[in-house]
Symmetry: C2
Amino acid sequence: MAYHPLKQVIEAADKAITEEDFDSLMAFYADDATLVIKPGMIATGKEQIHKAFLAIAEYFNHSLVVKQGAMHVIQGGNTALVIMETVLETTDNTGVTSCISRRATYVFREDPVGKWLCVIDNSYGTDLLGAM
Amino acid sequence: MAYHPLKQVIEAADKAITEEDFDSLMAFYADDATLVIKPGMIATGKEQIHKAFLAIAEYFNHSLVVKQGAMHVIQGGNTALVIMETVLETTDNTGVTSCISRRATYVFREDPVGKWLCVIDNSYGTDLLGAM
């Protein structure tokens, strides 16, 4: 697919997650954004999303590394749906590394000055249907 | 999941597709909406989307019946991502009926008077990643 500016935005956000720099991470979200923490559990707004990322970091033993795979962007005006392969690499207490690959869905909205903000962050993609 | 008004909107849109009432169908789309016709081929704006539906109806021998399965809505402010099982029933020239089940992704935007309009219609969901 053609290059889309959202590729860089998502790479930078994933880098912030990997570095546990959640203050910087919040700048990628719209004020009214919703994050799917896990099937059936969501966080809405930056305060809840920030807390969720602290809990996620703890859950993964502060070892989470987020990497990007194939990406596809479908844009309608100032709204974009991103379909993306996201790889989560984690290491447990005994030093064993695991990889989880997800086909994620993200919705971004472009603000009037051309900045793309994440409004829906659903890393579970269509697997939500099977999980609920 | 809790009832979401988008359930009725999508049912009505699918009914319009089944009835080949594409003029009514266009009322469900935003002016700047994008439809994924098939992986790698999109239509943007009502004129292109209307033409695409005429071609789709022809392709399926005017037999297409669209039915809804499980649905999940994730809302962030005035934007909603719908993850939905969509069943396409078609009948060929010899009278044989087939079913295609897709895990679709739709993005809707609520306008200032509370009307939800489809801005991205991607019935292929995350399968786009495997198809491109």
